[in-house]
Amino acid sequence: MTRSVVPGDPSSLSILGADALRAGRQLQADAQALASRRADEAGGVDRTSSHEAGTPRVRKDLDQRTSSLISATLLTAEEMLRIGRLFQERAAELSTAQHTLQGLRDRATAAGLGIDGSHVSLPWGITGSADADVQAKRVADRDHLQADLDRLQSSASTRRRALEREVKSSTAALTRIIEGLS
């Protein structure tokens, strides 16, 4: 059997998207909490801390590293939220496309045709009809179905490439974020 024109498992992509969204939200919340705590210390609100302990150099270094951690965490969270949403959108599109493909298969079967990968095919051998009109209609049905299948494949391919571009850009962003973590 040839590969489907809309391959993939929408539910697994949707689950990954949900996981990325949940992780992104949690990281965002915890980074914001740390930023808030840092601001409280700087403003002297938090009197329970050791904010004034250590040499000025040590305190400054610790504060800079904390700031760097907060920024990197927020940026990482943004990427997870962005790509998580994208995965879920793509999962929904994939599900719709696979439903459309099933509709084309049903139409093909009803017309006495078959879909194998990206091709709509006429049945092999003797089909039980030597009627020229029936044959002509079957060829016309095949051409229509093939056009619909081509459109579906083209659309799925375009969306897949768009997803790849976005995900690659996010991978590069994550790399930069971590490289910038001092």
Partner: protein, 108 residues
């Protein structure tokens, strides 16, 4: 897997950073816990690479946070247990406490 969530900071700052470390670990587990199936080699490789990078990012963030937490814990300890040599009026109880926790080893 080592978990930091239960260690509990002595200050609100330490508690906050412990929660961040726990969030990083949860994010790592979540990303690795799902295997997306794209059914197309290039798309599959692209998403697998993103997952790997996301996991690497959360690990690095957690590592950075742990390092900060440990450094901050030392500062907190110093703050709560000042050096009797430099304290203006180190009390007997304070020195004994430092000896008990074994930090001020040079104490005569």
């Amino acid at each position: 897997m080592q978990t930091d969530a239960g260690r509990g900071g002595s200050s609100p700052w330490l508690s906050t950073i412990d929660r961040l470390i726990a969030a990083c670990q949860e994010a790592e587990d979540a990303l690795f816990g799902t295997v997306p199936i794209l059914g197309e080699p290039l798309a599959q490789a692209t998403i697998d690479h993103w997952v790997d990078q996301g996991v690497d990012a959360t690990r690095r963030l957690a590592g950075h946070a742990r390092e900060l937490r440990d450094r901050r814990a030392v500062l907190d300890f110093d703050h709560d247990h000042p050096d009797p040599r430099t304290a203006s009026t180190p009390g007997h109880e304070q020195v004994r406490e430092i000896e008990q926790v074994g930090v001020w080893r040079e104490c005569p």
